[in-house]
């Protein structure tokens, strides 16, 4: 136990070490293997992995920097391991959740039964920033709206998994899952030989099959494309990578042209029809005739071609109403309403200002809760209870009473920690998990996902723009 001699596990749920400091069984092989490394060996392997990412151009672009700086997404070599029983629990919870979210979207854009029955308040849906009322009544292929979902999970101090948020528009990061595994294969081949780790290589084929399922009726060999905002976009590497994994062209808006409500790509030999578009452009930029008029990224006429069924989009338009911060609170109710099941993966407990009992609880516990305004993001309109002043709490009390529906509250989360290599030793850092769920002819969850790690000491923010990094995620074939 040389390597982890001074490792501090106190205060949080640690992924590797039980409170007694014993190694959890599914980490046994990895910890023993790290212990056999000579001093400095881990650091050397880390450097060589970083260099490989830069050489291969596995980078994202940093905005607001006129040099167009590209960075690698920091990668920590110590893998995060999930044993089979835990993964089966996660997987069934995610399948349940994406099923309910799609039923909800189909309902919202058609009969709105769930709103008529008063299970989800009408104002919550209609005030959502990404709700597209103009799409009501339009039938989408197989009634599926979210085909690719990235759901962020966290663990609390008991180790239980919670859903922090759903990303049902254009979730990114899947390419890093695949690249991280490649990096681990290069750096620690023997470790992967010793453990029954489920492969992630199949993602490209899974995604392609999911997309092919959407093709208009009668199209046997659909032309599928990945639509990117272009090489200047921070996630361009991922777009190109996924196109390559699927073996389909990557196109920009200017490569596509709409004629007679059909979408074509401009090729050197003339126009060629496109049937399915995996779009990595937000709704707002998709079609200047319908959404933002000044968008040069989109394709004029695309939305009409979609609504008449000549081309399929993944994900569909208007899915943002389902991953909205206020809608989130109602997902457990949707699961009960549509599926008549209890949610397998709970939400982080969320108190709604609009519900009388919840409101009373919020007002009594302002000093221990995080209060968020539903229509704001990025930390605005937020009260961090434990560190707030009496004046701030009074101000929020007034606002909540005046406009209760606009506020939600959650307990302060203490995310689980995982040993992470810092300089020349390991320290605990907070992590989350973003698995990828695909909904085509069946629902599949990529075994693993992106484990994001907050590299700054004490930080709970795992986003790459805020000093976050990632780890490879190993789902084991065996139960621990």
């Amino acid at each position: 136990m040389q390597t982890f001699q001074h490792y501090d596990t106190s205060g949080f749920f640690d992924e590797v070490f039980a409170p007694s400091c014993a190694v959890r069984p599914h980490y046994d092989t990895v910890v023993r293997s790290l212990d056999t490394l000579a001093a400095g060996d881990f650091a050397r392997r880390q450097q060589s992995a970083d260099a490989a990412f830069l050489k291969q151009g596995v980078t994202f672009t940093v905005y607001g920097d006129d040099k167009g700086t590209e960075r690698i997404f920091p990668f920590d070599l110590m893998p995060r391991i999930i044993p089979r029983n835990e993964w089966e629990h996660i997987e069934s919870g995610l399948v349940q959740r994406i099923t309910a979210l799609n039923l909800f979207l189909n309902d919202v854009y058609h009969g709105q039964q769930i709103m008529n029955d008063g299970v989800v308040p009408r104002e919550i849906v209609e005030s959502a920033a990404h709700y597209r009322p103009e799409f009501r009544g339009i039938t989408v292929p197989h009634h599926i709206y979210i085909h690719v979902c990235g759901t962020d999970l966290v663990r609390d101090d008991s180790g239980a998994y919670f859903v922090l948020e759903d990303n049902g528009r254009c979730p990114s990061g899947a390419s890093y899952v695949l690249e991280n595994r490649q990096a681990m294969k290069r750096t620690f081949p023997h470790l992967l030989e010793q453990l029954p780790v489920r492969p992630v290589d199949g993602y490209g084929a899974m995604l392609r099959a999911t997309l092919a399922h959407l093709a208009p009726p009668g199209v046997v060999d659909p032309a599928i494309v990945v639509l990117t905002p272009g090489v200047c976009n921070s996630a361009y590497f991922e777009h190109a990578y996924l196109a390559r994994q699927m073996g389909v062209p990557i196109v920009e808006g200017r490569d596509l042209i709409v004629r007679d409500d059909r979408v074509f790509m401009r090729t050197t030999g003339g126009l060629v029809q496109v049937h399915v578009i995996y779009r990595r452009i937000d709704d707002d930029f998709l079609d200047p005739l319908v959404f933002r008029k000044d968008s040069l990224l989109g394709v004029p006429g695309l939305v009409r071609a979609y609504t008449v069924g000549n081309v399929a989009l993944a994900n569909s338009i208007g899915t943002g109403v389902a991953d909205d911060k206020a809608t989130y609170a109602y997902v457990p109710k949707m699961i009960r309403y549509y599926l008549d099941q209890e949610p397998i993966l709970p939400n982080v407990p969320t108190y709604l200002g609009g519900e009388p009992d919840d409101r009373a609880y919020i007002l009594e516990h302002l000093d221990s809760l995080v209060v968020k305004a539903v229509n704001e993001s990025g930390g605005y309109g937020m009260l961090m209870g434990p560190s707030s002043t009496q004046g701030q709490r009074d101000e929020f009390k007034r606002r909540i009473v005046a406009n209760p529906r606009n506020y939600i509250a959650q307990p302060v989360l203490s995310l689980s920690r995982h040993p992470t290599f810092v300089g020349d030793h390991f320290e605990g850092r907070h992590i989350d998990l973003r698995p990828y769920i695909l909904y085509g002819d069946k629902i599949q969850v990529l075994p693993g996902g992106l484990t994001r790690v907050a590299l700054k000491k004490g930080s709970l923010v795992v986003n790459s723009s805020q000093g976050g990094g990632s780890k490879d995620t190993w789902v084991l074939w065996d139960a621990a």
């Binding site: 830069l54 050489k55 291969q56 151009g57 905005y63 167009g68 990235g150 990303n167 528009r169 254009c170 979730p171 990114s172 905002p229 272009g230 090489v231 200047c232 976009n233 921070s234 996630a235 361009y236 190109a240 990578y241 196109a243 390559r244 062209p249 990557i250 196109v251 920009e252 808006g253 200017r254 490569d255 042209i257 709409v258 004629r259 007679d260 074509f264 790509m265 401009r266 090729t267 050197t268 030999g269 003339g270 126009l271 452009i281 937000d282 707002d284 930029f285 200047p288 005739l289 000044d294 968008s295 040069l296 990224l297 004029p300 006429g301």
Partner: protein, 345 residues
């Protein structure tokens, strides 16, 4: 294949070739400068600057024409869009746009060269001994050529790659010859040192050994013949025009493409170059001949863009309701554009 992708492959190849030829030009002249005892910096470097066709931007950036300034301008200045550094950067941006079409080896060759020219090591090499820097760029360019030949599919993308490479190389070889025509014949000032200039020209084209095998002495007429018309030398104008013509012949013409297709223009040019003799070229006036050649190469470049990038819109898919709307410019990446930025989930 996608028109934009074809255009990007074509321009990636052109910019890589351009960067390599600039490095060759600077390497050969740096060496000539040291050998010929020249005292007038301006008389020596001005023709070289003119050769590149990028002289117009120079004046505003430097107070005078001087060796270190010209080298800085052509190798590294970020304000010169055709500096070695910017050519490689543009090649890489285009490579990034068509990453899915390239083998890993080709991408690595472009990316490694870009990382090198952007590195502190490259900057200090240029400051201490630029020769090492130019050699590294040439070596990187050759690795790119080799990786492409060894790993790329011989598909449509390859024909665009070939077209871009050889069109650019034909243009650059002709420019290198032009640096030795009329204006430059009095440099170096000492008559006995003048053959060194022709020797430097041969070296800058990697033609020195090939030339010496076939000719005992360095004579201007023989050098011009070798660089223009030699059928075995892979950088001669005839060789390049032939390869470009062969590549263009492989490309399918879209329906509704213009009469003066790139294929037709290239065939005409190849026939003319193929039948030319060195005496005809010299009698017509070397500089004028080169000017006309470059104009025809430019016409072919423009025809490639019109035929394979722009004309796709006009294929007869029924033009019932083309939607009036501004669209983004088509084709390859040639420098910074302000793109709209969207939030990532």
């Amino acid at each position: 294949m996608l028109s934009r992708v074809a255009d990007s492959v074509y321009w990636m190849a052109r910019y890589m070739e351009r960067a390599e030829n600039l490095a060759r030009l600077l390497l050969a002249n740096e060496s000539l400068m040291l050998d010929s005892g020249i005292s007038d910096d301006r008389a020596f470097w001005e023709p070289i600057l003119m050769t590149t066709g990028d002289e117009s931007g120079y004046g505003g950036l430097y107070p005078e024409v001087r060796g270190d300034y010209v080298q800085d301008y052509l190798a590294a200045n970020p304000k010169n869009s055709n500096s070695i550094h910017n050519c490689i950067r543009t090649a890489r941006e285009n490579a990034r746009m068509v990453r899915d079409q390239l083998s890993d080896e080709v991408w690595r060759a472009v990316n490694d060269l870009y990382l090198f020219v952007s590195s502190d090591r490259a900057a200090s090499m240029r400051a201490e001994s630029a020769v090492g820097f130019y050699e590294a760029v040439i070596q990187g360019g050759c690795l790119f050529q080799g990786a492409s030949r060894a790993t790329m599919m011989r598909n449509e993308a390859w024909q665009f790659f070939q077209t871009g490479t050889y069109l650019e190389r034909a243009d650059k070889t002709s420019r290198l010859i032009d640096a030795c025509s009329d204006v430059a014949l009095t440099v170096p000032p000492h008559p006995d040192a003048r053959p060194l200039r022709w020797q430097a020209l041969l070296r800058s084209c990697s033609a020195w050994h090939g030339y010496r095998e076939q000719h005992p002495a360095v004579a201007p007429r023989d050098v011009v013949e070798f660089l223009f018309l030699n059928e075995q030398f892979a950088r001669s104008v005839r060789f390049c025009v032939r390869e470009m013509h062969l590549a263009l012949k492989q490309l399918p013409l879209p329906p509704g493409s213009p009469v003066n297709s790139p294929r037709r223009l290239a065939t005409r040019l190849f026939n003319d170059v193929d039948l030319a003799t060195v005496d005809e070229i010299i009698d017509a006036g070397l500089h004028g001949y080169i000017d006309r050649l470059q104009a025809r190469l430019n016409d072919i470049g423009a025809a490639i863009f019109e035929t394979h990038v722009l004309y796709a819109d006009l294929t007869p898919v029924s033009l019932l309701s083309p939607v009036p709307c501004t669209v983004a410019p088509l084709g390859a990446w040639h420098g910074d554009l302000d793109m709209q930025i969207q939030q990532q989930q």
